[in-house]
């Protein structure tokens, strides 16, 4: 069983829609949860990270962590064609001295149609 499960999609929605991306995980020791965005032929770039449970909002993006259910979500409001990319969830147990042994989900390919 994979430590992190993420539906690879593809997911296609119209411009302006609310997008919900999700991951589940099995390792209860995970404490830091990230969402990365990856455009085609580029490296992943950090969108948001959260520590432990709760919500975090940044502009049109909201990250949600439910540790009791081992479930994390990323919501995108007012989606734009420029949001079309692969979204990767990632998590890790500890960030001692910047150490980030991240465990990634497979990534969800998202397309926003104009």
């Amino acid at each position: 069983q994979k430590e992190v499960e993420q539906d690879p999609g593809p997911l296609s929605v119209p411009e302006g829609a609310i997008v919900s991306l999700n991951c589940t995980y099995s390792n209860s020791a995970f404490q830091y949860f990230m969402w990365y965005r990856q455009y085609s032929r580029k490296g992943p770039e950090l969108l948001m990270y959260t520590y432990s449970s709760g919500n975090k909002e940044d502009g049109r993006f909201t990250a949600q962590v439910d540790k009791s259910s081992k479930y994390i979500s990323l919501f995108i409001r007012d989606s734009q064609p420029s949001d079309s990319a692969t979204y990767l969830c990632a998590m890790t147990q500890t960030l001692i001295q910047g150490a980030q042994k991240l465990v990634f989900g497979q990534g969800t390919r998202l397309t926003i149609n104009p």
């Binding site: 990365y36 490296g43 950090l46 990270y49 001295q97 910047g98 150490a99 042994k101 991240l102």
Partner: protein, 114 residues
């Protein structure tokens, strides 16, 4: 400020040959990571350097893979001899020592083993 740069962007080699991938991290970043994504799978951790020292190499698949970081600056990842299953995209990432949640990834080196 320059980002993480990787070379080559794409390498095609025959099974049994040797390939060396190079990564130049962001200047001043002591932490350097190698990750790999093979076809259809998630991105997986290979190893972590702090300056010139290997902090964690638990993700290295076998002894055909050798990573070095000369003088704590750039890093190389050598695969010798390459096998078909080594094909994939090799990502390098770097972070500052006190950074939380901020890994900066390069665009990746795509390796194809025929």
């Amino acid at each position: 400020e320059a980002g993480v740069t990787q070379f080559p962007s794409h390498s095609v080699i025959e099974k049994g040959q040797t390939v060396t991938l190079r990564c130049d991290p962001i200047s001043g970043h002591d932490n350097l990571y190698w990750y790999r994504r093979v076809m259809g799978k998630e991105i997986k951790f290979l190893l972590h350097f702090v300056k010139e020292s290997k902090q964690d190499e638990s993700g290295m698949p076998n002894n055909r893979f050798l990573a070095e970081r000369t003088g704590g600056t750039y890093s190389t990842l050598k695969v010798q001899p390459a096998e078909l299953e080594d094909s994939g995209v090799y990502f390098c990432a770097s972070s500052q020592e006190a950074s939380y949640g901020e890994l900066f990834f390069g665009e990746g080196s795509r390796l194809t083993v025929l």
